[in-house]
């Protein structure tokens, strides 16, 4: 009986490992050469003038990137290469808002972040459309999500081989996004 329950437990663990495992480890070596830029219709706030909340239509592409350890780690690399640090530091914020906290001026879903990177935002965030290929924007956005612990801890990037300013994304406790916020780092945090 005891061994039965152990087997069940083990099976549960194995299932846990299986879930998304294939997707998480996939290295998408040859992105589709045809246009991959998706149209994501996302809202920045849940407030709405009408009776129903704003309509949201997403391609679902984000889930793939948020589940993939490889994509997030690529995103982490590009985040450094493309000098996102220049304004956002290592997520702690500088001239740009911090990315590690739960405040999201322009929405905290991966689709919001993709749009923010692609289209730019007022007050300093430039548009990277045409400068960063779409595939990489998604990867960076997935990484940005991981900075506030919003991707699963077993796919979020681990520490780099460098000085470490704070624990790695995989060890960051999740702080679900709160829409709105200020440009300057909130004093309470």
């Amino acid at each position: 009986m005891c061994s039965g329950s152990l087997k069940a437990l083990m099976a549960a663990c194995a299932m846990g490992a299986l879930l998304g495992a294939c997707q998480r480890e996939e290295r998408d070596q040859r992105p589709s050469p045809v246009a991959s830029e998706t149209r994501e219709q996302v809202a920045l706030t849940t407030n709405s003038a009408g009776p129903s909340p704003p309509e949201i239509r997403v391609s679902g592409k984000g889930a793939k990137y948020e589940a993939s350890a490889y994509d997030q780690s690529q995103g982490k690399k590009y985040y450094a290469w493309f000098n996102c640090n220049g304004c956002h530091s290592n997520g702690g914020g500088g001239s740009g808002p911090p990315l590690m906290d739960d405040r999201w001026i322009y929405g905290g879903s991966i689709e919001n972040i993709v749009q923010t990177i692609r289209e730019g935002r007022p007050n300093g965030m430039p548009s990277f459309r045409g400068k960063i290929p779409d595939e990489q924007i998604w990867q960076i956005a997935a990484y940005v999500r991981s900075m506030s612990g919003n991707t699963s801890s077993d796919s979020a990037p681990q520490r780099n081989d460098s000085m470490h300013p704070h624990p790695s994304e995989s060890r960051t406790p999740p702080s679900p996004p709160v829409n709105g916020g200020t440009v300057a780092p909130s004093p309470s945090r």
Binding site: K7, A69, D154
Partner: protein, 640 residues
């Protein structure tokens, strides 16, 4: 002090005056496994465990061999599109990892589990439950990594998993963690089996089997077990550090925070070089037994052979830096390791000379085991020669990490370990199954293996000198490496076919081979004194050893001891050097707890890859199963 309550009952019946058949019935009852699936999983008979262990190891050989065949197909032509780099890197990692950790070491230990108790003349291995547990841990570890591979989370950083490539930054996902945890599985298992084998050889030798009467194979297994004991902790420590770096953010290999990139290589090769001898020394043991039997005389140079084993064991810990000549270490240190690496050729050479001196003038019958021994001499000596070459710093700087080295270590490992192993299977198969393997298929098996091997690997020496590095998934056509690679692939396929023949031969012979009898080869060591296959209790009475080849010396009447219990399992414990009878100690019955504990270990290890905290509650779980394991279930267990 014996217990008064149990004395003078039927339970205390001794084997002293029992007739042979009555003795057989009673011993079979006392030593037999329980029926049913639970009984099968609980069976602690070293022969049952050994058989499953050997079988499992060969399954992993087939898997790793298939990975190798796929790699060879990819490399047959330049710029081949058959397999992409991602899969190729997983394949060569799985090939190396499986061959080293799931085949080569386990299969040698499996033979030790099966043969060592028989050869030293005892009824079971020391710590049989621990051995059973180790087997399950090994199976579960192997299962984990291959299931992971099939789910595309197979490790892709090489069997050596150099940091920082295998570290947290450059191996995202769980691939490296799976690799590191598989190491923990297999090393736990290897270490426990090594301790069991050592204690078996130290304390359970038949009366009179003094140190200088221990069969050479048992010596080889003993030295191997010591190598495992002192080498494997290094790789366990290294893989633990790696997984800590990856999961909880430690900095052992992070140079920016006081760690060091090369620390990994030092720890890994401190294990990795003795590992080669862990695989090779049992091979020499097989060769010694087969050569002695087929040349119909005791092996020449028993003492030098034993000393060579021990010397090789010691020297193997002083060579690890020769894997790191290109890392820019101080030159003086590097030359020391050149000297020590070359020095190991002396004991190896001595062994070769002793075997040839044994064979000299004996005109042995070239049955299949003997053919594999001759194949071993041909291939291994060549591998040893290239080994001397790579020990030289300047030569190594050219050939390190090229196909020259691939050729070298396949000559050493396939020649030095797999050929003797196949010979050993042909030689002991009749003991294990009661039936001989087919000689005709055996000859085909040998010649295809011998030709296939040399065709596959000889050209690689030249490829390496032509500039072909290891671990490349493809190469450009204008480099001119194509023809030799094509030849090599053809040889590899022939080699694969020879293994097909081997498996067919084993499976067919198991059912319909010629009955073997006790001693089909007329050998002199104790395992051949038992029926084939041996009964669960191995020896009806404990043999008494008065000579190195007891069966040759005693003729057809074997001196034995009596006075042991027949109603419960009892082992004779003897003294360390003289093997004087010392204790009649109980040995455990079958138990399902080793299986449960192994499952708990697997749960703890696998879950901790995904949630570090599982290491804590997983350990508690394992602790609970261990209490269940060790808590006595009956009064008899107190005495036993």
């Amino acid at each position: 002090m014996t217990d008064v309550a149990i004395r003078a009952s039927e339970k205390d019946l001794r084997d002293t005056d029992l007739a042979a058949e009555d003795l057989h019935d009673r011993l079979s009852r006392a030593w037999g496994a329980k029926s049913g699936l639970i009984g099968w999983l609980s069976d602690v008979d070293h022969k049952a465990v050994g058989r499953r262990y050997i079988f499992t190891a060969f399954v992993f050989l087939a898997l790793a061999g298939s990975a190798a065949a796929l790699m060879r197909l990819q490399l047959a032509r330049p710029e081949s599109q058959l397999i992409g780099p991602d899969l190729y890197n997983q394949l060569f990692t799985m090939h190396g990892t499986t061959m080293m950790f799931l085949f080569a070491v386990p299969v040698m230990q499996a033979f030790a589990v099966y043969l060592a108790p028989l050869m030293v003349g005892t009824r079971n291995i020391a710590f049989p439950r621990l051995t059973l547990f180790s087997y399950y841990v090994y199976v579960l570890g192997g299962l984990m990594i291959w299931v992971a591979f099939l789910m595309n989370i197979g490790p892709d950083v090489g069997w050596f998993a150099y940091t920082p490539l295998s570290g947290p930054q450059f191996s995202p996902g769980k691939r490296s963690d799976i690799w590191a945890q598989m190491i923990t599985f297999t090393e736990v298992s290897s270490l426990a089996v090594a301790v069991s084998v050592i204690v078996t050889v130290f304390k359970q030798r038949a009366p009179g089997m003094t140190l200088d009467r221990i069969p050479l194979l048992v010596w080889a297994m003993l030295v191997t077990s010591f190598l495992i004991m002192f080498a494997m902790p290094a790789v366990m420590l290294a893989s633990t550090m790696l997984i800590l770096d990856r999961l909880v953010g430690t900095h052992f290999f992070n140079y920016a925070e006081g760690g060091d990139t090369l620390l990994w290589q030092h720890l890994f090769w401190f294990f990795g070089h003795p590992e080669v001898y862990i695989i090779f020394l049992p091979g020499t043991g097989f060769v010694s037994q087969i050569v002695g039997t087929f040349s119909r005389r005791p092996v020449f140079g028993y003492l030098p052979l034993v000393l060579a084993l021990v010397a090789t064991g010691f020297l193997s810990f002083g060579l690890w830096v020769h894997h790191m000549f290109a890392t820019g270490l101080p030159q003086l240190g590097a030359s020391f390791f050149t000297a020590s690496s070359m020095l190991i050729a002396v004991p190896s050479g001595l062994q070769i000379f002793c075997w040839i001196a044994t064979l000299w003038g004996s005109r042995p019958v070239l049955a299949t085991p003997m053919l594999f021994v001759l194949g071993f001499l041909f291939i291994f000596v060549l591998g040893g020669m290239t080994g001397v070459m790579v020990a030289s710093v300047p030569i190594d700087l050219q050939v390190h990490d090229t196909y020259f080295v691939v050729a070298h270590f396949h000559y050493v490992l396939i020649g030095g370990a797999v050929f003797p192993l196949l010979g050993a299977v042909y030689y002991w198969f009749p003991k294990i199954t009661g039936r001989l393997m087919s000689e005709r298929l055996g000859k085909w098996n040998f010649w295809t293996a011998f030709i296939g091997f040399n065709v596959a690997f000889f050209g690689m020496h030249i490829l390496g000198l032509m500039g072909m590095p290891r671990r490349v998934y493809t190469y450009q056509p204008d480099l001119g490496w194509g023809p030799l690679n094509m030849v090599s692939t053809a040889g590899a396929l022939l080699l694969a076919a020879s293994f097909g023949l081997f498996f067919i031969n084993a499976l067919v012979s198991m059912r319909s081979g010629a009955p073997a009898g006790n001693n089909p080869w007329g050998a002199g060591t104790l395992e051949w004194a038992t029926p084939s296959p041996p009964p669960v209790y191995n020896f009806a009475r404990y043999p008494i050893v008065r000579h190195r080849e007891p069966l040759w010396a005693e003729g057809d009447e074997l001196p034995v001891a009596h006075g042991l219990m027949v109603s419960q399992r009892e082992l004779l414990i003897t003294t360390l050097t003289e093997a004087r009878p010392d204790l009649r100690e109980g040995t455990p019955d079958g138990s399902i707890w080793p299986f449960i504990a192994a499952l708990a270990v697997a749960v703890a290890f696998i879950c901790s890859i995904f949630w570090a905290i599982a290491a804590v509650w997983g350990s508690a779980l394992v602790g609970l199963t261990l209490i269940g394991w060790f808590w006595p279930k009956s009064v008899t267990e107190d005495v036993t």
